[in-house]
């Protein structure tokens, strides 16, 4: 479904990462972790086709079926929630009715705010609307870059339900998260970027934390489920 072949990214003389290879299957959730500046978001942008790798290749079964939720919400503040989704529906060429859009808003708990401008939404509401935009696409490859940012506990639970639902319908989900404890149970696989390479690729339970954290108190505990060890 999504394959990276010896992917490298270089900015000028700075190597962000190199020789990153993996193949991610349909119906799976992969958690991508790494320290600040490790290149997680850059790697995800390469997966989405938004950035070109300096070397290697990122192959996606169907680039048109990629859903991407990044740090930016892609929302137009001057449009209402329903107008935003209607625009992206038309832009992506989706055959959805207005009722489908309203159902999408209800799915993320925003039906009462359908006719409010996105510019007045809180960060969490904007992120939920952003999530509705991505889910509306029903993508085969779902790329989520720290989607929990700004979400309250209920919204986080909703997000995790939607990730599970996406996997069950056969999507390949890649998730960047600061919350290893909360998100590792969702994942079938964990990819860790460290020292400019893919340092770990395996089951989340087998991940022992980063080498750089080896001497830090409680690092191993955090890696097994403690708070905020990996981002």
């Amino acid at each position: 479904m999504l394959e990276l072949v010896r992917v490298a990214k270089v900015y000028g003389v700075k190597v962000v990462f190199k020789d990153v290879s993996c193949a991610l299957a349909a119906g799976s959730v992969s958690l991508l972790v790494g320290g600040n500046g490790a290149g997680k978001s850059t790697l995800m942008r390469i997966m989405a086709g938004l950035s070109r790798p300096s070397a290697g290749a990122a192959n996606v079964a169907d680039q048109a079926r990629v859903g991407y939720l990044g740090h930016a919400t892609f929302l137009y503040p001057g449009l209402t929630a329903v107008e935003n989704l209607a625009f992206w529906r038309d832009a992506y060429g989706l055959k959805l009715t207005r009722d489908d859009i309203m159902a999408g808003l209800a799915r993320v708990g925003l039906e009462a705010h359908a006719h409010e401008r996105a510019g007045v939404f809180s960060r969490g509401m904007a992120q939920r609307l952003n999530l509705a935009r991505v889910l509306m696409q029903a993508p085969d490859v779902l790329l989520l870059d720290e989607p929990g940012t700004g979400l309250d506990a209920a919204s986080l639970a909703l997000l995790r339900r939607e990730i599970t639902a996406a996997r069950q319908r056969g999507a390949c989900v890649v998730l960047i998260s600061h919350d290893l404890a909360g998100d590792a149970p969702l994942a079938d696989r964990l990819l860790a970027l460290e020292n400019r390479r893919l340092a770990y690729d395996g089951l989340p339970a087998g991940f022992k934390g980063f080498a750089a954290d080896a001497g830090r108190p409680n690092a191993a505990d955090e890696a097994q489920g403690g708070p905020a060890c990996c981002a």
Binding site: G70, A72, T73, G78, E83, F87, D90, Y92, G93
Partner: protein, 225 residues
């Protein structure tokens, strides 16, 4: 591709016309230019038709710069540009959609500028009106094709307004000359050759600018750093 183009144009017009700020600024700048040039005449004097047509097109050109800066800025607020790049259609749909929205806004502005030019600059419409309208349409299409292309290029730059003006105006010179020449004839300037040759120039530059936009836009409007 057409679906994204129409969605883009509809969204841009809704945002610009509903909020009004981008269009109002452009209108005010154009009207200010017309008014300032009108001060160069004495009381009761009439500006030469060639000069009046030039002032009209200068106002339109500066208005266009503000319009396209405004239109491309809409995508920069929450980085919607990346979302557009993920759409499963050629990215040229964005260029066409922005160009169409810009054309409508420019025509709306010119609906205000034309009577203002007649009043402030003491003109009367007495020449070949159908040819003048054709020249207006051809010049506007070329201006918007190039404005939409270079508006994307200037976006994200610190001095985008001045950058767009500096890059755009030299390229538009032949089109503006065509618009000015045919416009001057519409305002009563004598022309032994008629507007035909200038209309041909405008049509040729439209073809070049439209071709350049279709070819170059994908290189300009990209997600990579």
């Amino acid at each position: 591709m057409l679906r994204l183009m129409f969605a883009m144009a509809r969204k841009d017009l809704a945002l610009t016309l509903a909020r009004g700020s981008g269009l109002v600024q452009a209108l005010l700048l154009g009207l200010l230019l017309l008014f300032v040039f009108s001060l160069s005449q004495g009381i009761g004097e009439r500006m030469a038709p060639q000069g009046a047509a030039a002032v009209f097109w200068i106002s339109s050109a500066f208005c266009q710069v503000l319009i396209f800066n405004q239109l491309y800025a809409l995508e920069e607020v929450n980085n919607a540009r990346l979302g557009l790049l993920l759409c499963p259609v050629p990215v040229q749909a964005v260029w066409l959609g922005k160009g169409c929205a810009g054309l409508v806004l420019l025509l709306l502005a010119q609906v205000v500028f034309l009577p203002a030019a007649v009043v402030f600059l003491g003109q009367t419409l007495g020449g070949p009106l159908p040819e003048a309208l054709l020249a207006l349409a051809l010049t506007d299409i070329g201006m918007c094709a190039m404005g939409s292309l270079l508006g994307a290029l200037a976006q994200g730059q610190a001095a985008r307004e001045s950058l767009l003006s500096i890059v755009l105006f030299p390229l538009l010179t032949p089109l503006l000359l065509a618009g000015i020449s045919v416009g001057a004839q519409a305002l009563g300037a004598p022309s032994p050759d008629g507007p035909g040759a200038w209309l041909g120039v405008a049509a040729a530059f439209d073809a070049v600018f439209l071709g350049a936009g279709l070819f170059l836009f994908a290189y300009i409007y990209a997600g990579d750093e």
